[in-house]
């Protein structure tokens, strides 16, 4: 009897404004653009989708359930630009049928660079979820479902989580099915849910693809595929970006109608039900341990880190960013810290990806740059300015308004 476990990722980065080497102010982010995108996505996706899911939960009297992971930087932007979205999330939270997951507040890759920073960001995100929705997250998902054994161990060691989510990558599963609960290798308590990428991507990527042999995707067809799991799995994990509803798949593709009719169709089969990740974890025992020595993610066909760290610009930018951690934290300046953390959003590095640049692919989604090179240059200009702010903090002799555009003398920069 498969349970359907829906989890939606909800995130928008704070995009940088055009920042040249000649700029010399602390306005790094493009308020106008971020507001416009936030409102646009709110109208096309967050609001209609939230209202629809709320109705479905009411209609099915608690038998339809979903989970969300909301990043802190999205919540900040919603508060500022689209507060009505927050109130609909609040309404969803009150139904008792919606679970909120934990992740890094800044949608960062901090796990790869600083455990300390990573833990601080997870705590910060849990705090904001608790404040806004009165729930303490019990299940963790890392940015872009990035995962390896070490992350499993770290999350278990944090002591506050029952499970972790990641990609059901073929090379990790071997001949096993993603439709069971597993345990990360080396963990004793923590459980693991794996994305069924085939069924997830049928909705998230292929839904409107007319070249796809299964187009058009109907609820009947999809339910049949889900029912086929019966006897060979406990849970079908459908993990996807929330923007799938209305933004990646536009309304005119019929995505909302599909979602509206899906619960009813799934529930026709009495063995099926919907569960949130915590409920899945409570219901099923691990079918075995999953060993992930190398890092995986849910991105592209490679399911690795190459979308964020695949070229020298990306690794350089992120290394330089995390190299500042100690100095930023020592400076004890809340605004400096926040700016530094906002720069950690994985999106900034995603924009620098040259992998599919030639095909101009999915990487284009709300990408503010014409090219990965422009994105790197812009990021580095901002980072350079941020570093100069650190330097100013470290050498009080230099007054804030007098440091030259060409940079700080070397002596002032060294830690």
């Amino acid at each position: 009897m498969p349970s359907i476990c829906f989890y939606f990722q909800v995130h928008q980065p704070m995009r940088l404004r055009h920042y040249t080497v000649f700029d010399n102010d602390e306005r790094y982010f493009d308020e106008g653009r971020n507001a416009a995108i936030c409102k646009k996505v709110a109208n096309k996706c967050y609001l209609p989708a939230n209202r629809m899911l709320l109705r479905l939960i009411q209609q099915h009297k608690g038998r339809f359930r979903v989970a969300y992971s909301l990043t802190g930087i999205l919540l900040e932007q919603l508060e500022r630009y689209s507060p009505e979205v927050l109130s609909t999330f609040h309404a969803l939270a009150k139904t008792g049928c919606v679970e909120f997951l934990a992740e890094t507040y800044y949608h960062s890759l901090s796990f790869l660079y600083s455990r300390k920073e990573f833990i601080e960001q997870v705590r910060k995100q849990m705090d904001v979820v608790r404040d806004l929705f009165g729930q303490t997250p019990k299940v963790f998902r890392n940015t872009e479902l990035i995962y390896n054994n070490d992350l499993g161990l770290l999350i278990e060691a944090m002591g506050c989580f029952d499970a972790i989510l990641t990609e059901g990558a073929d090379h990790v599963l071997g001949d096993r099915s993603p439709n069971f609960v597993y345990q990360p290798k080396g963990c004793r308590r923590l459980k693991m849910l794996l994305k069924n990428y085939s069924l997830s991507d049928d909705i998230a990527f292929r839904f409107s693809n007319r070249d796809w042999a299964q187009w058009p995707l109907t609820v009947e067809k999809f339910s049949k595929w889900v029912n086929a799991v019966n006897g060979n799995g406990n849970v079908v994990n459908l993990f996807m970006d929330y923007e799938t509803l209305g933004e990646h798949q536009w309304q005119d593709t019929g995505i909302f109608d599909f979602m509206r009719r899906l619960p009813e169709e799934i529930l026709k089969h009495s063995d099926n039900d919907f569960k949130t990740p915590s409920e899945v974890v409570a219901s099923y025992e691990p079918a075995g341990a999953i060993d992930v020595p190398h890092i995986i993610s849910w991105a592209d066909t490679e399911r690795d880190l190459s979308a964020w760290l695949g070229n020298p610009m990306q690794s350089n930018a992120i290394h330089e960013l995390y190299r500042l951690e100690k100095r930023i934290k020592r400076a004890n300046d809340e605004r400096l810290l926040t700016d530094w953390r906002r720069l950690q959003a994985s999106d900034h590095f995603y924009y620098m990806c040259t992998k599919y640049f030639a095909d101009g692919d999915v990487h284009k989604y709300f990408n503010p740059y014409d090219s990965p090179y422009d994105s790197y240059i812009n990021f580095m200009n901002v980072l350079d300015h941020l570093e100069r702010r650190c330097a100013v903090k470290e050498t009080p002799i230099l007054s804030c308004d007098s440091f030259p555009a060409s940079g700080i003398p070397l002596a002032a920069v060294s830690v």
Binding site: V21, A358, Y376, M380, N381
Partner: protein, 440 residues
């Protein structure tokens, strides 16, 4: 229709072109050479017609036949280089040169006259007067060249006429008319690219007539195609875009640069003319030097704005940071690329732009103007509006400051440039020839 002779279906082209190595002064010559060489490899037979002056030093490896010489030796079809088996060359005595303007033409004629006075005794006596091998001004020379070409064409067999840039259009139109063969004109640049809004009406008229009379127009980019449609009123379905290729140097540099200079070098390479945007380069240089010290800006090339550029550099107070090399060719070009950390092409209007491809081929990252055809085919290049000197400077600084940026641009750019092959351009031209040969 002449296609099915004993040699099968090989197309024969009467090509009105320019410059062959080693005397290439710019992209036009490079393009004619690259395209012809690739056509040759496809088995297309090309009669390559180009202007030649008495004093020119061609024909070390390209053997040329002039109409006069041909008359003397009757039929000699052996004028081919070892390299090009299907190409025969025909020279027409004429002082026409790639990139000529009425002014440069006049200067050149005066110089030729002076040379003749010095070398021929007969001209000492009385007025030597204009001889048969040139006309007094550029426009008349272009038409004189056309009648010479028509004369030459009478003794040639070909299926299609292909003319490169405006000075050969009257010749192309004439040859097509007397032979009844289709005409293809190839636009490497338009009067609007060369002169901005101050177009020379006579040149414009010659260009437009060539395009109108042509059966097919080839533009080197969509950028140029758009201009041919909007400025010359040529219907879009008659215009095909054929991108230029790049001739790979073929030699992998095994000796890495051993001397690491303290100073970075930013390179401008091209004719120093209005079209190439030298003043934007200098204004950007000034801004770069405001925030960075260890940079030199090298302007390689010559042109009518050269002295003004020297003055401007001085005016901006960066005279000691800007070096002018004059016109470079061959090995010197490769040497300057080897030294450069970055190549900038700030063209105001560039129909294509082969030089950035050569830069990438030499592992030099490039910043190119968005107002260029080459920006349509290069993704792994930095792009700026030519007038946006702030952004140009911003990008120059970034390339010089961040090695990972240079590395990524270089690696991807070098790979990308390998995909731009003359072979593809030649194949496309061949398809166009065949189209014009199909009876409607």
């Amino acid at each position: 229709m002449g296609l099915h002779d004993d040699e099968g279906t090989r197309v024969r082209v009467f090509m009105l072109g320019w410059e062959f190595p080693p005397f290439i002064s710019g992209g036009l010559g490079t393009a004619c050479y690259g395209l012809t060489k690739a056509l040759d490899q496809l088995g297309v037979r090309v009669t390559f017609v180009l202007p030649k002056t008495v004093d020119s030093q061609y024909a070390t490896h390209v053997r040329l036949l002039t109409p006069q010489a041909k008359r003397q030796t009757t039929i000699r079809r052996t004028s081919q280089t070892d390299e090009l088996t299907n190409v025969s060359f025909r020279a027409i005595m004429s002082p026409l040169r790639a990139y000529a303007t009425p002014e440069t033409y006049n200067e050149r004629i005066e110089e030729t006259l002076r040379l003749q006075r010095e070398t021929t005794v007969s001209s000492e006596a009385g007025d030597g007067g204009p001889r048969a091998d040139y006309a007094g001004d550029l426009y008349r020379e272009v038409h004189r060249y056309a009648s010479m070409a028509m004369e030459l064409a009478k003794g040639e067999e070909f299926d299609v006429v292909h003319a490169h840039d405006w000075m050969t259009y009257p010749a192309g139109v004439g040859v097509a008319a007397i032979s009844g063969k289709p005409l293809v004109v190839h636009i490497h640049s338009t009067e609007f690219d060369r002169s901005g809004e101050h177009v020379n009406q006579t040149v414009y008229d010659i260009e437009r007539e060539g395009m109108q009379r042509a059966d097919k127009v080839i533009a080197v980019s969509h950028y140029t195609r758009g201009m041919v449609i909007s400025r010359y009123g040529i219907p879009g379905d008659k215009i095909d875009v054929v991108y230029n290729g790049v001739e790979r140097a073929g030699v992998w540099s095994t000796t890495p640069e051993t001397i690491r200079r303290e100073e970075k070098i930013v390179l401008f390479l091209g004719r120093i003319t209005l079209q190439k945007g030298p003043e934007f380069f200098l204004h950007a240089a000034k801004k770069v030097l405001d925030v960075m010290d260890n940079v030199k800006f090298v302007m390689a090339g010559s042109g009518d704005l050269m002295y003004r550029s020297v003055e401007l550099a001085a005016q901006l107070g960066i005279g000691n940071k800007v070096l002018f090399t004059g016109f470079l060719r061959g090995d010197d070009v490769r040497r300057i690329f080897r030294m450069a950390d970055l190549y900038v092409m700030p063209s105001v209007s560039e129909p294509f732009g082969i030089a950035p491809l050569e830069a990438l081929d030499n592992d030099v990252p490039v910043i190119i103007s968005k107002q260029s055809g080459v920006s349509e085919v290069l993704r792994h290049a930095l792009k700026v509006d030519f007038w946006d000197v702030d952004e140009m400077a911003n990008k120059i600084v970034a390339v010089l400051k961040y090695p990972p940026l240079r590395m990524t641009l270089r690696n991807h750019g070098n790979f990308e440039v390998r995909k731009l092959r003359w072979r593809d351009a030649a194949q496309h031209c061949l398809r166009i020839y065949e189209e014009t040969l199909v009876p409607v």
